[in-house]
Structures are given as C-alpha cells and as structure tokens.
Symmetry: C2
C-alpha cells in the first residue's frame, strides 16, 4: 500500500476505493521545476497530488503567460479531469513548484468509479468546485487589484502553499508569473519594502507579516 495514499485520503475515500486506487495507480516522484503538462497535450491519465506544489499557467498566442493558481496536497487538476472525460487537449500548463509525489490514474477507471463510489463523485465534483473558485479568485485579482496588491497576494499565496515564509525567486520569474515586467516588479517590491511589508535580499524575499 502506498503510504501517502492512505495518509492523505483515508478520510476522503472509502476503503474499497483506496484499495482499487492502490492497485491501478502508478506512483511518480517528480523534481522541482519540471513541466508535467503542456498546452495542447492529450491527457491519458489523471494525476492525484500526494505531496508538493504544482503551478498552473495559462498562455496567450504571443507566448505571454500568467499563473492561474497553485495545486497543493490532496488536490487534483480539474482541467485534467475534464480533458480526460472530454477527450480534449489541455488548455493549461502544469509545472512543479517543489518536488512532488503523485499518483497517475487511468482514465477508464475514473469513469467506472464515478458510477460506483459516492466518495469519488463527491471528490471529483468538489475538485471542480474548488478549481472554479480558484480561477474566479484569479479573475478578481487581475480585474480589481492594482499590481502592488497582486504582487503582495502572490507572495503570500506562495508562502502559504510552500509553508516557507521566504520566496526564492528572481524578480524576472515573478514578472513572468504575474504577466508584467521585471522593472515593474523591482519597483513595487522596493515600495513594499519601504512600507515594511517585506525584506528584500538577493534571490529571496522575506514576508514580514503573513
């Protein structure tokens, strides 16, 4: 029995389902900063996150990208869910933020379990619900917040999901994820530092308050 599966999902799935997952799922360990899914990919199996953090990106036709949200332990990517079901291509890119452990579940099992297990149906629907809310929160950020507020939110979100009070990123990387420019990020970070909200160091940023 895969230990993380039992630890993370024993209160979510009934025992029979956990056993089935244990039998058919493939365990994978993937290093930090690794591209798991690219836009346009066909999805053959559904990932279930056991540990670590995954970043989900959206990209436009010019290659500009934007961070949509983070996936944490216990999450699954609803985008991938619907790609599995709908036989359609991925609309997003998934990149590991930290080292991750995950289970890959064959698509046909997904369908089978939808009919068979109440807990699986609840899980799938709940994943969609969570993801939908997450994308809407992203809409809120872009539509209603100014760049300095978005930047601070980004830093706090990143600290939350990684459980580290310190962000190890260059300004350029942050700029890509927020779809702005390095100069703007540097400018606003300095402003946040002057306000006493963060401390700037080379290659990492410390949040003063969480």
């Amino acid at each position: 029995m895969i230990q993380e599966l039992k630890d993370n999902y024993k209160d979510v799935f009934e025992e029979g389902l956990i056993n089935e997952i244990n039998q058919v799922a493939t365990f994978k360990e993937i290093p930090e900063n690794f591209k798991i899914i690219e836009i346009g990919d066909y999805i053959k199996s559904m990932p279930l996150l056991l540990s670590g953090v995954i970043k989900i990106f959206r990209e436009d036709t010019n290659g500009d990208e934007l961070l949509l949200y983070f996936l944490e332990n216990g999450d699954t990517c609803a985008m991938t869910l619907s790609c599995c079901i709908g036989q359609s291509r991925s609309e997003i890119r998934a990149v590991t933020e930290t080292q991750v452990k995950l289970l890959m579940i064959p698509v046909q099992k997904m369908e089978e379990w939808m009919a068979k297990y109440t807990s699986w149906r609840a899980f799938v629907l709940n994943s969609y619900h969570t993801r939908l809310n997450e994308v809407m929160e992203t809409v809120d950020s872009i539509a209603f917040l100014k760049m300095d507020e978005r930047l601070l939110k980004y830093l706090k979100d990143k600290a939350r999901v990684t459980h580290i009070n310190s962000i190890h990123n260059t300004h350029q990387e942050i700029a890509y994820e927020l779809h702005t420019s390095r100069v703007v990020v540097s400018r606003l970070l300095k402003k946040l530092e002057n306000m006493g909200k963060i401390e700037l160091n080379r290659n990492h940023i410390r949040l003063v308050e969480l």
Copy 2:
C-alpha cells in the same frame, strides 16, 4: 411533457431521465433584466436553461462588478451546481439578459441521478468543463487584451448569444460589465467606428462584421 425539455435534451439525456426531470422540475418563465441569483444566496434548486440568455457577474468588496460569461440554451450554471452539492453560498450574480425559460430541479434529485444516469454524470461534468473554460477565457481577455480588443470581443459575444447583430446598450451599461468607465467606452467605441468595425447610434451599436 414540457416541450422545450424534449426539444433541447432528447439527444443529451436518456428517455427515463427526461421523464423524471419532467416530473420533478418546476417550469419558470422570467422577464429580461431580472436578478435570478445574488452573491451570498443559498441555492435550493438547480436551474436548467431552456431558452434565453443569462449573464453571470463577479463582484468585489467595493461593489465593482465584472461580466464573467453568458449562459445560453442548454447550459446550466456550474457555480450553482457546486453550491447545491457543497451547501455553500453563491459566489456570483446571475441576471437575465433576455426573457428566459428554465427548469428548477431539486438538489436531492441531482445527487440521485449522479449515481443512476450516465448521461446526467456526463452532463454535469461537461457543464463544469465548459464553465471552467469560459472563466479561463475571461482571464485571457482581462490579462492579455487591451480595452479596445476586450470591447470588440464583448460586442461580438453579445451578438452571438442573442443572435442579434445589434447591441442595445448604453455606454454606461457596457462600462459596468467590462469594469471600466463610460468615457473610456465612448472613446474606444468611436475609435472602433472610425476603423469601420461598428456603427454607433443612440442606444444601439451595430456590428459591421461578425
């Protein structure tokens, strides 16, 4: 038997399900510009759209609002779906754009059918998939497009869902839906008119090309 139910869903749902829907659903006819769901509402039954167009809005804490997307014939609001299931409050506002006809389905039936009917499961999952993609398209618009491009896209989307080549809105109303100001909308509409893409008239705008 509700005629629109049969007409719209005979290829989507198996006959038994259509009969069940016909028995338990309540038929409603609602006039144009009517608020169906407000942010914070508890949802007791799930709406199924038979005809007409519904607008879905997001709002921030200052009361600023933003159009997320339109619902058309055959759609259901996935937000509502997940509110039903998760017992949570609505995160969005729903307003009729045209007169609409819809069926209200009790929540407990939804759950029951998830176990019983393959076609219902497919429908629910497909709704989530579509809605998720729609919100992501909204993210794209806000993140990657300039206001004049967003404006033109808005006009085209509205023309598409209403099947009318002419938009009957004041500049102020458009400004609210795009979360910008009336002056900006007027300015950019004039620019689009000069480019030959639209024709401006009092209280309505005609799209030259679709």
